[in-house]
C-alpha cells in the first residue's frame, strides 16, 4: 500500500466541514447550526481505494488573516503542517462569501479541491451552479456534494487522491490584483526572496501577506521592526489609492469572484426575502425577541420534566426491584452482609440514583438540539446583544454560555470564538453559572420531592437565576478587572433549517452515551468510595453517623448552616459533587439508602421514603430551594476546573474561579434562605 495521504478540511464556519468529516471517517463529532461548533482540529483515518487517508477537520475560518484562536489553528495547520491536499468545503447556497477563503487557500500554493456542499439547499433556493464551468474558471477541481446524504464523496476523494498522485494536473488561476498591487507584489517578492526560512512557503503568498501587513508573516520574515522602513520601498504609491491596500486586495478578490460567478451561477433576484428572513423579522423583533426566548426555554423544561418523568418512574421502579432481588439473591448465596450492602446500597443505589435521571437528560438534550439544529440558538446571540453590550460583552459571548446548558467543558472551550482575551476570560469565569446537564438530576430529585406538580417552573427559575448571576458577574468583571470597550459583535447567521432526525438523534445519543459512561466510571467509583467512607471509620466498620464520611460532613456542615441545610449529609453530598455534579445525588442515594427507598417507592408509586429521610435532616421546601441554588452556582466539577486551567493557562485564574464561585453560591443561597425565612416561606 502506498504512503498515507493527509487531507485537510478547510472552509467557512458552518459550511458543513464536520458533517463531511463524520461522513468520511465514521466519527460522530457534534455538529450544530451555528458558526464555531468546531474549535479544535480533529483527525480521523480511513481507507479509500486502498489509499490510507488521514483527514484533519479544521475549525472554520472566513479568511487566512487570523483574528481568533480557532482561525489561527486552521491557518497554522495548513501553512506549517503541509497536508498533501486541502479539501475546501464551500457552501453552495452562500457561494460568493465562501469562495473568498478559497481564493486565499489557492494562493497558499497547496493543492486545493473544492467540495461544493449543500447543493440541495442551493437548488431549492433556485440557484443553478455549473460546477464544471466553475472548475474551469478557477483552475481547480470542483466536486458537488451533499455531505448530509453522503452524496458525491467518492468523486471528491478520487479527485483529491488523483491530485496527490499527479493524475490530474493542478494548475490554478490567480486573482489579478490590478496593476498597482501586482507591481507591489513583484517588488516585495524581489525583496524577500533571499530570506532563509521561507522555503516551504509560496513566495507570492508571502508577498501578498506582507502587503496586507499580516503580523505572523512579518514576524516570520523578521520585518516587524523595520517594517515601516523597508515597506516604504514597497509602499510608494499609497497616495494613488483612496483606500488602504488591504481593502483593495479584499475588494479585488471579491470582484474576481463576482466576475466568475456571473458566468457560472444563475440565481433569483437577491432582493427577495427568504423564508429565513421572514422568520427573523418576528423572532428577532425588538419587543418579541426576549419573551419568545424565555417562553421557548420554559417549554424546554416543561418537556424535560413532564415527558422525562414518565420514564423516570419506570426506571426508578426497575432499580428498586433490581436492588431488592439482588439483595435477596446475595443473601441466598451467603454473601457477607457488608458486601451485600456495598453492592445493593453502594453500587446499585449510587449508580442507579443517577441513572434514573437519564430520561430527563435525554429529553433536555432533544429539546436543546432541536433549538440548535434549527438555527434558533444563533439568533439568541443576536437577541441578547443589547443586554450583553450593556455588561460590556458582545452577543457572541452568549453562545458559549448557552453551550453551558449542556456541559460546562465545551462551553469553556467554545469561548475560543471570542477575539478579545479579556472578554474570553470573563466569559470563561461566568459560563459555569449556566446550569449544566449534570446538575439536572439534583433539581429533578429535590423539585420532585418538595415541589410536586411545579417542577417545571422551579427548574426553569433555577436556569434563569443561573443566567442572571452569570450576567451580573460578567458586568462586575467587565467594570473592574477586565475593563475595556465592548468588542464589536460580528457573526454570520445560519439559515433556519428543519432539524433532521439523524443530527438530533446522533447528538442525543452521544450525550446519553456520555452520561451512561460517567455513570459506569466516575459515578460508579465515587459510589463505592462514598459507601466505604459512610460505613467505616478508622477502627473498622461503623454505623453511618460515626463513619469517616459523617465526620467529614460534620466538619464542613457549619458553613452551610446559614443556608438552611447544615446537616452533615448535605455537606458531604456537596463536597463529593466536586467529582461530578451527579455525585451529589448518588451520595444522597447511598446515605438515605435509595436502593431500598426506591423499591418501596415503586410499590407506592412515589418517593415518600426519600421525602421523610430529607425532612428528618431538616430539609424544608425553602432550604431545598436554597440547596438547589447552591448546587447550581457552586464550584463546578474537576473536569471543568481542568479545562479552565488548560484554556486559561493560568493557575491563578483557575484558583480564583474555584474560590469565587463557591463564595457567590454561598452568598446567594444564603440570601435565598434568609430572605425567604424573613418573609415567611
Amino acid at each position: 500500500m502506498s504512503k498515507s495521504i493527509t487531507i485537510a478540511l478547510a472552509g467557512n464556519p458552518n459550511s458543513g466541514k464536520t458533517t463531511l468529516f463524520n461522513a468520511l471517517t465514521g466519527a460522530k463529532h457534534s455538529v450544530g447550526n451555528w458558526p464555531g461548533v468546531t474549535v479544535e482540529k480533529k483527525e480521523g483515518k480511513f481507507i479509500h481505494n486502498s489509499n490510507e487517508i488521514i483527514a484533519v477537520d479544521l475549525p472554520g475560518t472566513y479568511s487566512l488573516s487570523p483574528y481568533s484562536l480557532e482561525e489561527m489553528i486552521a491557518r497554522n495547520y495548513i501553512v506549517n503542517e503541509s497536508p498533501e491536499v486541502v479539501i475546501n468545503i464551500v457552501d453552495a447556497s452562500n457561494i460568493e462569501r465562501n469562495l473568498y477563503l478559497s481564493m486565499q487557500l489557492i494562493e497558499l500554493g497547496k493543492p486545493v479541491v473544492i467540495a461544493l456542499n449543500m447543493m440541495d439547499i442551493a437548488e431549492r433556493r433556485g440557484h443553478k451552479i455549473d460546477h464544471n464551468k466553475l472548475s474551469q474558471a478557477l483552475g481547480v477541481p470542483v466536486v458537488p456534494i451533499v455531505a448530509t446524504q453522503k452524496k458525491g464523496l467518492k468523486e471528491l476523494l478520487d479527485a483529491a487522491v488523483d491530485i496527490v498522485r499527479g493524475k490530474i494536473k493542478y494548475n490554478p488561476n490567480r486573482v489579478d490584483y490590478g496593476k498597482e498591487i501586482e507591481d507591489k507584489i513583484q517588488k516585495t517578492k524581489a525583496m524577500i526572496k533571499d530570506k532563509s526560512n521561507i522555503a516551504k512557503y509560496d513566495l507570492r503568498w508571502l508577498a501578498i501577506k506582507v502587503i496586507e501587513e499580516d503580523e505572523a508573516v512579518l514576524d516570520l520574515l523578521n520585518m516587524k521592526d523595520k517594517f515601516s522602513a523597508e515597506n516604504e520601498v514597497a509602499v510608494t504609491n499609497e497616495d494613488a489609492f483612496e483606500n488602504d491596500f488591504e481593502a483593495i486586495i479584499a475588494d479585488r478578490r471579491y470582484s474576481y469572484i463576482t466576475s466568475i460567478l456571473s458566468k457560472v451561477v444563475k440565481k433569483p433576484d437577491s432582493k427577495v426575502l427568504t423564508t429565513s428572513d421572514k422568520i427573523d423579522r418576528v423572532i428577532t423583533n425588538r419587543w418579541l425577541g426576549l419573551p419568545i426566548f424565555a417562553a421557548l426555554m420554559y417549554l424546554v423544561f416543561w418537556f424535560t420534566f413532564n415527558i422525562g418523568n414518565i420514564f423516570l418512574d419506570m426506571i426508578d421502579g426497575w432499580f428498586g426491584a433490581l436492588g431488592e432481588s439482588a439483595g435477596t439473591a446475595l443473601e441466598g448465596i451467603g454473601v457477607a452482609g457488608w458486601l451485600n450492602s456495598l453492592i445493593v446500597d453502594g453500587i446499585i443505589g449510587g449508580v442507579g440514583g443517577v441513572l434514573v435521571f437519564l430520561p430527563n437528560i435525554v429529553f433536555l438534550f432533544i429539546a436543546m438540539s432541536l433549538l440548535e439544529d434549527s438555527g434558533y440558538m444563533a439568533r439568541v446571540a443576536f437577541i441578547m446583544d443589547r443586554a450583553m453590550r450593556k455588561i460590556g460583552l458582545s452577543g457572541k459571548a452568549f453562545i458559549p454560555m448557552l453551550m453551558g446548558f449542556g456541559c460546562t467543558v465545551p462551553a469553556i472551550m467554545g469561548t475560543r470564538t471570542l477575539e478579545d482575551e479579556k472578554d474570553r476570560l470573563a466569559t470563561m469565569l461566568v459560563a459555569p453559572f449556566m446550569s449544566c446537564g449534570a446538575r439536572l438530576p439534583i433539581y429533578v430529585l429535590f423539585a420532585g420531592v418538595f415541589f410536586p406538580g411545579k417542577e417545571g417552573i422551579v427548574v426553569w427559575s433555577l436556569y434563569i437565576i443561573g443566567i442572571i448571576v452569570a450576567v451580573i458577574a460578567a458586568l462586575i468583571f467587565k467594570k473592574t478587572i477586565f475593563k475595556g470597550e465592548a468588542t464589536p459583535f460580528v457573526m454570520e447567521l445560519p439559515p433556519y433549517r428543519i432539524p433532521t432526525l439523524k443530527v438530533t438523534g446522533s447528538l442525543v445519543w452521544e450525550k446519553a452515551k456520555g452520561y451512561l459512561l460517567r455513570a459506569g466510571t466516575i459515578i460508579f467509583a465515587a459510589s463505592i468510595v462514598i459507601w466505604f467512607i459512610l460505613n467505616f471509620n478508622f477502627s473498622g466498620m461503623s454505623e453511618m453517623p460515626d463513619s469517616i464520611g459523617a465526620g467529614l460532613g460534620k466538619v464542613i456542615s457549619p458553613i452551610f448552616k446559614p443556608l438552611g441545610f447544615g446537616s452533615w449529609e448535605a455537606a458531604l453530598s456537596l463536597i463529593t459533587g466536586l467529582l461530578a455534579k451527579e455525585v451529589v445525588v448518588s451520595s444522597m442515594a447511598v446515605i438515605y439508602g435509595l436502593g431500598e427507598a426506591a423499591s418501596e417507592a415503586a410499590m407506592e408509586g412515589d418517593v415518600t421514603g426519600f421525602v421523610e429521610a430529607l425532612n428528618a435532616v431538616g430539609f424544608t421546601s425553602l432550604s431545598a430551594y436554597a440547596f438547589m441554588v447552591f448546587s447550581l452556582l457552586y464550584t463546578p466539577c474537576i473536569a471543568v476546573i481542568g479545562t479552565f486551567k488548560k484554556e486559561s493557562n493560568s493557575w491563578k485564574w483557575t484558583g480564583f474561579s474555584v474560590a469565587y464561585q463557591f463564595v457567590v453560591a454561598w452568598v446567594i443561597s444564603m440570601l435565598v434562605f434568609q430572605v425567604g425565612t424573613l418573609i415567611g416561606f
Binding site: Y62, S63, S65, Y67, N94, I95, E96, R97, Y100, E212, E213, N243, E246, A247, A250, D251, Y254, S270, K271, L273, S276, D277, D280, R281, T284, N285, R286, G289, A381, F382, D385, R386, R389, S394, G395, E485, A486, P488, F489, V490, M491, E492, L493, P494, P495
Partner: protein, 73 residues
C-alpha cells in the same frame, strides 16, 4: 451616514469602515468591501443588525454599525 441609522428593508452602499485595522480587515474578509451593496433584513434600535451581504446573513452589533459609513442607493 452611519449604517446604524438605516432602517429595515433599506439598501445601501458601503463607503468606509472607521475601525482599527484588525476589525476592518475582518469585516472586509466577510464581504463588506467599499462599494458593495447590502440590505438591512432586521434592525433593533441601539442593538444588532442583520444584513444581507453578498447573499450571506451577517449580524453586526450596535457598536460596529455606528462606525460603518454608507450611502443610500
Amino acid at each position: 451616514m452611519p449604517l446604524a441609522m438605516t432602517g429595515i428593508g433599506q439598501e445601501v452602499i458601503i463607503k468606509a469602515i472607521n475601525w482599527g485595522p484588525k476589525m476592518k480587515k475582518r469585516l472586509q474578509d466577510m464581504g463588506l468591501t467599499p462599494g458593495v451593496k447590502i440590505s438591512v433584513i432586521s434592525n433593533d434600535t441601539n442593538g444588532a443588525f442583520i444584513l444581507n451581504v453578498r447573499g450571506s446573513r451577517l449580524v453586526l452589533g450596535g457598536v460596529v454599525t455606528q462606525q460603518i459609513l454608507v450611502d443610500a442607493v
